[in-house]
């Protein structure tokens, strides 16, 4: 809609663009730039990339990252497929469990649960000790890359589940009926008609999972796997210094692969909107289960549920356990670990501080950016949207490296401290990384507000500022709140950029503290306790965020009547 582009909005556009350029574009460009510079002569060269591709270890790391990402997608699909089949094809009350399965894994970031998974599924973990004792064999769940694949698949399978269910539910009933008329039914029908039609949704979910697993630093680091791209880059930068060109080459490759994956997702979803489920329009016919089918269905669901809950159970046990060594379960239990972390509580304090500032800035920017993009006709306004969303494709590690590179030279005003070691730089990194979530929430909220409301206010001679303050923002409030909570909750468990930027213990947030606690013999208990707290924060945040959105949707439905 073309409303007047007031000066204040143009200024806002300019300021936001500067912020994004300064804190997202320039660091990323500096990463690319450094990768193409010869360390000794300072001239442009591709020799660093040639060195990378000549080195067998790096090629191996590159392929391993690909392998792990693809296998995680496959394993996650294996969990998601039967569950989506049950939910969309049959009428049965287990669907509620499936829906909650779509939420529980996402609240525990893979690196937090990784240590606990190792205790449960490792070579001498609970499951394998049991298998070995009664059946004399072991399954290498957590050996080498398998451990990373397992942890990531458990965490990310809901992405695929949700997308698959949504796209299955959007399939037109007439497709199925035509196929049945021609004699197809059951699994055949599912395989040949339903699944292909749901491919776009699946591909979108799968590419998102691929992207996130490919970029993940925390999980391989905590599982001690370093022959993958992200941990290699981190280890090189921290062992050899921020001038090592290889770290930048790897960051560039990570960024390019992520961009490619995101582009594929965008292509798959072109023209489709999955954010709103149609009620009563599409969807396949559901039939009832007979008794044996019910047993099988519940059996599969409970089996998958146990696997998916394993990190949560393991983490809880570890946080309360005393010694857990080569045994099924901890030797004894205690509350000491929780006591310890509450006594040294600066991590929780820091996390709340950083994440609330970051989330606040995110929704502030989110409202402004969506307003400018949707309601004004300022030239190049889409730049704001694309740039902010591009933050999703920039791995946290690459952003961290870019910040170190770009901001090390600058000092804070009035002090000798370099900008890169000031705690606020962590806040900025969190802001940039979580902005896409807040932006999408604000976008969704704004598109549902009729522009006529604003035009009426304008006719009554309200200024742009008054319109925003008294009409737009209040109507968007539920979306803003949901965006704030999502940004906050996901910022709590961000590790990849944080680990590059944390320069000391006092400024460290929760996620970094979990990582550093897991580095001492007596620290696994407290580290696990911190992990449990992080999971609780994210869980509560996600729950309330969902409740607010649902409440709003219900309100809308009521209003339409």
């Amino acid at each position: 809609m073309n409303l007047r582009n007031t000066l204040s909005l143009k200024v806002a556009f300019f300021l936001i663009a500067t912020f994004l350029i300064f804190f997202l574009v320039i660091p990323v460009v500096s990463v690319f730039y450094t990768a193409f510079i010869d360390t000794y002569t300072g001239k442009f060269t591709i020799v660093n990339f040639l060195d990378f591709f000549k080195n067998k270890l790096f090629i191996e790391s590159f392929f391993n990252s690909f392998y792990v990402a693809i296998m995680s997608v496959l394993l996650a699909s294996t969990f998601a497929l039967p569950l989506s089949y049950f939910t969309t094809r049959f009428q049965f009350r287990g669907s509620i469990i499936i829906q909650s399965l779509g939420f529980i894994p996402l609240i525990m970031p893979p690196f937090v649960g990784a240590v606990a998974l190792k205790l449960l599924f490792g070579t001498n973990g609970t499951v394998n000790l049991f298998l070995n004792k009664f059946m004399s064999f072991k399954i290498p769940f957590m050996e080498g890359l398998n451990g990373v694949i397992f942890a990531e698949a458990i965490h990310y399978f809901p992405f695929i589940l949700i997308n698959l269910v949504a796209s299955l539910n959007n399939i037109d009933k007439s497709m199925e009926e035509s196929a049945q008329n021609l004699g197809s039914s059951g699994l055949n029908l599912f395989r040949k008609i339903v699944l292909p039609l749901s491919m776009p949704g699946y591909v979108a979910g799968a590419s998102l999972v691929f992207l996130k697993v490919f970029d993940d630093l925390g999980t391989p680091l905590l599982l001690d796997i370093n022959n993958m791209l992200a941990p290699q880059a981190y280890l090189r930068i921290s062992a050899i210094g921020i001038d090592d060109p290889m770290g930048y080459v790897m960051a560039v490759i990570l960024i390019l692969t992520s961009l490619a994956a995101m582009w594929i997702a965008k292509l798959a979803l072109a023209g489709k909107d999955y954010s709103m489920l149609q009620k009563g329009g599409g969807g396949l016919a559901k039939r009832k289960l007979n008794f044996t089918e019910k047993i099988m269905a519940y059996g599969v669901i409970i089996f998958i549920l146990l696997i998916v809950l394993a990190p949560h159970i393991g983490l809880a046990l570890l946080s309360f356990g005393t010694i857990w060594s080569f045994s099924y379960f901890p030797d004894a239990y205690t509350l000491n670990h929780y006591k310890e972390i509450f006594e040294t509580s600066n991590f929780i304090k820091n996390t709340f501080l950083y994440c609330s500032i970051a989330a606040f800035i995110d929704v502030f920017l989110g409202v402004l950016i969506s307003y400018i993009v949707i309601r004004t006709s300022i030239k190049w306004r889409e730049f704001l949207d694309y740039t902010a969303m591009a933050a999703l494709a920039i791995p946290g590690l690459a952003l961290g490296i870019g910040y170190l590179r770009t901001f090390y030279q600058f000092n804070l005003p009035f002090s000798n401290k370099p900008l890169a070691s000031w705690w606020f730089i962590i806040v900025i990194a969190l802001t940039i990384r979580r902005l896409p979530y807040a932006l999408r929430a604000c976008n969704a909220a704004l598109t549902q507000i009729s522009v006529y409301l604003e035009e009426s206010a304008e006719v009554l001679s309200a200024t742009r500022y008054t319109i925003l303050k008294k009409i737009v923002v209040p109507l968007m409030l539920a979306g803003i709140l949901a965006g704030f909570i999502t940004s906050f909750a996901t910022a709590t468990v961000e590790l990849s950029a944080t680990i590059m930027l944390v320069s000391n213990d006092i400024d460290a947030p929760l996620s970094y503290a979990i990582y550093s606690y897991m580095q001492t013999a007596a620290g696994r208990g407290p580290g696990a306790a911190l992990g449990v707290i992080a999971v609780v924060i994210v869980g509560i945040g996600t729950y309330f965020s969902q409740r607010i959105i649902e409440k709003k949707q219900n309100e809308k439905l009521i209003n339409l009547n």
């Binding site: 360390t39 000794y40 020799v47 060195d51 990378f52 000549k54 080195n55 067998k56 270890l57 190792k118 205790l119 490792g122 001498n124 001690d224 022959n227 941990p231 280890l235 921290s238 062992a239 050899i240 210094g241 921020i242 001038d243 090592d244 290889m246 005393t322 010694i323 857990w324 060594s325 080569f326 045994s327 040294t344 600066n346 304090k349 501080l353 609330s356 500032i357 606040f360 090390y408 000092n411 000798n416 401290k417 370099p418 070691s421 209040p474 409030l477 709140l481 320069s503 000391n504 213990d505 006092i506 550093s516 606690y517 897991m518 580095q519 001492t520 013999a521 007596a522 620290g523 696994r524």
Partner: protein
Amino acid sequence: MIKEINKLFVTLFFCSTILFSSTVNAGELVVVTSFPKDLSGAFKVAFEKKNPDITVNVIGKKTTAGIKYIQETSSNNTSDLFWASAPDAFEVLKEDGLLAKYSSAVKGIPDKVGSYPVNDPDGFYTGFAAAGYGMMWNNRYLDANNLPKPATWADMTKAIYHNHTGMSAPSRSGTTHLTVETLLQGEGFEKGWASWKFIGGNFKTITARSFGVPDGVNSGDFGVGVVIDFFGLSSIGSGFPTGFIYPKITTLVPANIGVINNAPNADNAKKFIDFLLTPEGQEILLDPKIRRLPVNPKTYSKAPADFPNPFKDESIGKAVKFDVVLSKSRYNLINAMFDVMITYRLDDLKSAVSAIHKAESKNLSSEGKKLVKEARALVAALPITENQANDPAFANIFKKKRKKAKDIEKYAGTRQAEVEAEWDSFVVDNYKKATELANKAASQ
């Protein structure tokens, strides 16, 4: 609803500013350290109790990262102390002129521990605890797998331990670097590397961080780990079913602390060093979660019965006289050699070593024995000679900064990545050939 949300934001903002301002303190002390929280935290709490106007700000970085950090921030230094185990790390900083002289006046600390001087003779860094290297194991794991407790480095090369041991890499851990360098100096360059290759051939894993080793042993992931003594001793102290031993070829090396040049809080830094050396500070080292060897002999009277005492027990650390200057000169080179020959090609090395073990377990003909001997030589082969390794010009390829023109001349254009790629092909071929020969010997 809006009013409530507004209030929420405002309160959050206020709280944040209050929280922020409360962390800004009058007296500060910035310590860059590789020590874990258990240790730095205990000293921080005790020191702050004694000096309530000083806040200790701990910056945790692994030894190599810490060195890098201090080098990179030197033009704009914000750190006061560097506090780490490895003396060769301090030598690197000393050579770069990044340390300031300070000799504490606190009494009761002898000149030597084992055969090693406690403090830097030039006065740039001070020893506050001693540490040696050895092996730790998990009792339950050894029992379950019928393995004996190891006692020497040679034990670690035996076939029974195949896939049951672990260690970190010298590039990732200052203490592991010292362990590797100690064996190289104790057994000689070529024999030492051969030992490392056969010890490495038994590894289940090379951990990404030094703590990964005691962690793996504690959780029962693998049975025996090569560790610095306090990892073993603190695990035992924390209640894990583990044990620890010093092998004969080990050295006792002090863990050190040094004041950084142009420190913003130099006086506080000196106070901290003094505190570490007082009887009260030394006693903190006996904490079951820490368990490092104090340098004050009198502190041992407060230690538990089984606690090792290097001042009474002469066998610990006398066998090797550690040359810290040599270690410093080839620091990065040794890191690169270990990584390229062992860490990155662990699977190839393991299959070669395992094939050799298998062949040796059979009754071999004389030809078979010859093949196995060849295979062993192939595994142990090095891509460079000891002279090259000790040549400072060659070692400089592995350094970031080139200080002198002649450094650049001799190996001009050789990038670290290039040299490493050459070594990589060398070892991969050798391991493959060794595997073939050993299999051939076994099949005869």
